[in-house]
């Protein structure tokens, strides 16, 4: 099942350790098998009330009027909470690290931007009574035009979803609607290539589907504080988010996390804690806000869908000379964490391969769907799917074995990466070799002898000359065309077959360039 290949990189390790490396039993395993591990919902508090929210049935609509009169009289209702009751209703999660503008209300006030957006919270003696009260709330909506496709959302004239970002894209460095990667000159690389491959990839949203849903219980504690039992993955992140939204000093909140019944990134957004605490503040009693399964499936943040366009220029001997990306992250109606994912994605390009010319535009786009959030592999999973499918197609195009194709292009120690940092501590080649051996996938001897530590240095180790300025990549071709580029045979060359182009001339040995023309932080400043 699992073996440790201690022989590889052995000279870089000191394996003389006592506890590290041992298959020690988990500290929490006994608790798990005896069902005594404590999750947030394993607290029974006297007089606990239940909070449920009314959710928008429309993907995009103005709220004209909210009539709570019948709901307020509903049996068991202790308090109804509206947007106006939330001290700082507008927030964005990464404001804690000064990244982005406050764009998302805890409870919608004049507009809803996705189906399922919370509008009103009901706090009642039982969950059943909360649901019954919700059914008595009357809201007058004025539906608005919707947009669900990222490319449609980016077109001029598209409905404005999130007025904080009126062009439906997040703003980077105050001036751009995307994060750029510019490394070398891709047009020059394409011109020198023997084959061009341009493809489109799409990953749909994915739900975290942890076995435990999101939830929290907030209760007034002794000495004027509030204790909060929560399913969060990030204790202080949630605490500070609540302190901001509720406008209270952070030391008024005592957050206690449990073991979390599966997180995978879906329990960072702090969706239940602010309202649970506000409910406790307004009623003076413990309040539990637990997301139901249907709610979690339909209305809680998923991994955002991503659409990725890759254009590659490859030489007939298997080297990728240029790679160009256009990635569109579907953030849904609000920013949450997608703004950060875009930069992480950009940082990851072009994959663990040394490609001398890389160009990328990565966008965070708003649509009228549930806001997306982090999920296992955030910013990387979809683009790695796209890259590795593309690598397989390229290998096929040049008639090379897919493993060998990876090895030819794999990055090594000392290579210059597209984000202009030296590659260190690399091991892709060794992983490919070991996997090939394990799977009895034959690769040639030359490839078995390759190493992350060999064949390094210039020209792989330097930043190439930049490209002349050019326009952003044109809007992509329609979906129907996507197979034709791949299936079309390489155009006949007008001249006899020429030898592969020589590597670009070595730059004078200089330290990797950090002196870009202008530095500005993605984040506005340091955290308060």
């Amino acid at each position: 099942m699992l073996e440790l290949r201690k022989d590889i990189f052995a000279d870089e390790r000191d394996d003389n350790l006592k506890e590290i490396g041992k298959p020690t039993q988990r500290q929490d395993m006994l608790g798990h098998v005896t069902a005594t591990s404590v999750y947030f919902n394993d607290h029974k508090l006297q007089g606990m009330l239940h909070l449920k929210v009314l959710r928008s049935p429309h993907s995009h609509a103005r709220i004209r009027r909210i009539d709570l009169s019948e709901a307020e009289r509903s049996p068991g209702v202790r308090r109804i909470i509206r947007g106006a009751d939330v001290p700082r209703n507008l927030n964005t999660l990464l404001s804690l690290i000064n990244f982005g503008k406050d764009d998302e209300p805890t409870l919608a006030v004049d507009k809803v931007r996705y189906k399922g957006e919370p509008i009103v919270a009901v706090v009642a003696e039982s969950q059943r009574e909360a649901f019954e009260a919700l059914a008595k709330i009357r809201v007058d909506y004025e539906p608005l035009p919707t947009v669900f496709d990222v490319e449609e959302a980016m077109k001029p004239g598209a409905p404005v979803i999130n007025e904080t970002y009126p062009k439906n894209t997040f703003t980077y460095h105050d001036i751009y609607d995307h994060q750029k990667i510019r490394f070398g000159d891709v047009e020059r690389g394409f011109a020198a290539a023997d084959h061009i491959l341009e493809q489109r990839y799409q990953m749909s949203p994915i739900e975290h589907a942890p076995t435990e849903t999101n939830g929290s219980i907030a209760a007034p504690d002794t000495n004027g504080r509030y204790v909060v039992y929560t399913s969060t993955q990030a204790l202080f992140f949630s605490l500070d988010t609540c302190a901001k939204i509720l406008d209270v000093p952070s030391n008024k909140l005592h957050f206690i996390g449990g073991t979390v019944g599966g997180g995978f990134g879906g329990k960072v957004d702090t969706v239940t804690e602010p309202l649970a605490i506000l409910g406790a503040m307004l009623t003076g009693r413990p309040v539990r806000y637990m997301i139901g399964r249907e709610e979690e499936m339909l209305y809680c943040a998923p991994r955002g869908a991503e659409r990725i366009f890759i254009k590659d220029g490859v030489s007939r001997d298997g080297r990728i000379l240029a790679r160009q990306f256009r990635c569109l992250f579907d953030s849904g109606a609000y920013t949450r964490l997608s703004s950060y994912a875009v930069v992480k994605c950009a940082a990851h390009l072009p994959g663990p391969y040394t490609i001398p010319n890389v160009y990328a535009e990565v966008y965070c786009v708003f649509t009228n769907r549930v806001p997306a959030t982090a999920m296992r592999g955030f910013g990387v999973t979809a683009v790695d799917f796209a890259i590795e499918c593309q690598m397989d197609k390229l290998a096929d195009l040049v008639g090379m074995d897919p493993m060998e194709f990876r090895l030819v292009n794999a990055y090594r120690d000392g290579d210059m990466k597209a984000h202009r940092r030296e590659a260190k501590n690399t091991a892709l080649i060794e992983c490919v070799q070991v996997a090939a051996e394990k799977a009895k996938w034959r690769i040639r001897d030359d490839f078995k002898r390759m190493s992350s530590l060999k064949d390094v240095g210039a020209p792989r180790a330097v930043v190439p000359a930049p490209a002349p300025a050019r326009e952003a990549i044109l809007v992509s071709r329609p979906a129907g065309q996507q197979r034709t580029v791949y299936d079309r045979p390489a155009p006949p060359s007008p001249e006899p077959i020429r030898p592969p182009p020589p590597p670009p001339p070595a730059q004078p040995a200089a330290a990797p360039s950090h002196g870009a023309i202008r530095f500005s932080s993605v984040f506005g400043g340091r955290r308060r």
Binding site: R5, Y340, K344, E388, W441, F519, F523
Partner: protein, 340 residues
């Protein structure tokens, strides 16, 4: 009308920690009067084994048995700040913070022992079994329990330590994207074998073989848990799940586990894993973190295996039977590629 087998592979790396850094974690370590240690964290265990890994790191650094260490987590009153459990940062960031705290605590412990044994600190070592003795003279020894009592009640020392680990926040150039995303990366290569039914489009998993490079496997059983569980999730992402089956059309979203499909215990396949260890210079004992890396390689490996089996390229996830069947029909039938 056949079930056709095919193999595909993928290779990739994964950045450790929050992109651009700037994500600190802190830890506190202290001894009770009888030489048992508590690690205080606010970090959260999601099942990935945070408590267990930090416990082992602390024990190794202190030089005491793991049974003498207990990790307390997830209380904002007692645990110092930690950014959170995400971005594969736990082992690296929290692990390093725990190491720093344990080092400080160990320093005090060794000085206290030196004073009791009347030797130089440099002459002492821990045996990992609860004793501190003079190097080369194991009979000249004192238990960590006795050291703790002496330190507390006679010497007036506190055997405790504080640690923080922070990768400084990196800038991002708006024009070129120049940035420092991460200080280390994990690596992987995975081979998937599938069986495609060319009449129904269903794809069944046959087996997977993989190699992961993780810096150091702090606990091989925990690593195995992540890699096996993560690969299962990768299969699920590749072939089964989405809340928007007709994306970008948002209709027909699943409302429950009956409609949200994931592979069950009858849908899994054997998975043989090799773990490589190239220590990260700034990882705790060189460790990186497998938490997210483990799901990613499966998706493209399966897509590439489907091509090998029937000759169609699946560029959209999830790869449902309908999509496979439509592609086979558009192609005029299955076209198995050369066996890899």
């Amino acid at each position: 009308m056949a079930k056709l087998r095919g193999r595909g592979m993928s290779s990739m790396n994964y950045p450790i920690g929050m992109n651009l850094g700037g994500d600190p974690s802190q830890a506190l370590v202290h001894s009770n009067p009888s030489g048992k240690f508590t690690v205080s964290l606010s970090s959260i265990d999601l099942g990935q084994g945070m408590k267990s890994v930090t416990r082992q790191i602390c024990a190794e650094t202190l030089g005491v048995p793991v049974e003498d260490v207990y990790v307390d987590t997830a209380d904002s009153d007692t645990g110092p700040h930690c950014m959170g459990s995400f971005a594969s940062r736990g082992t690296h960031r929290v692990g390093n913070a725990v190491m720093a705290a344990a080092r400080e605590a160990r320093g005090v412990m060794m000085e206290a022992a030196a004073e009791e044994l009347e030797v130089n600190v440099a002459d002492l070592e821990t045996d990992g079994r609860g004793n501190i003795h003079v190097k080369g003279a194991p009979h000249r020894s004192i238990s960590t329990k006795d050291v703790a009592i002496a330190a507390q009640f006679r010497q007036g020392r506190t055997i405790s330590g504080r640690g923080i680990f922070l990768v400084p926040l990196s800038d991002v150039d708006p024009e070129t994207g120049e940035m420092s995303p991460a200080t280390c990366y994990a690596h992987a290569c995975l081979v998937a074998e599938v069986e495609v039914d060319d009449e129904t489009g269903e794809v069944a998993m046959v087996r997977m073989d993989s190699a992961y490079e993780l810096g150091r496997a702090l606990n091989p059983r925990l690593v195995e848990q992540q890699l096996v569980g993560g690969a299962w999730m990768g299969i699920s992402h590749a072939l089964y799940e989405t809340p928007e089956p007709y994306y970008p059309d948002p209709s027909h979203g699943p409302r429950d586990f009956v409609e949200y499909l994931m592979p069950g215990p009858g849908d899994i396949c054997p998975h043989d894993i090799s773990v490589l260890e190239r220590p990260a210079p700034d990882g705790p004992f060189g460790a990186k973190g497998p938490g997210e890396m483990c799901a990613n390689p499966v998706m493209p490996a399966i897509a590439n295996a489907i091509f090998n089996a029937v000759g169609v390229r699946m560029d959209e996830l999830p790869i449902t039977p309908e999509k496979v069947l439509r592609a086979i029909k558009a192609q005029g039938g299955a076209r198995p590629q050369a066996r890899r």
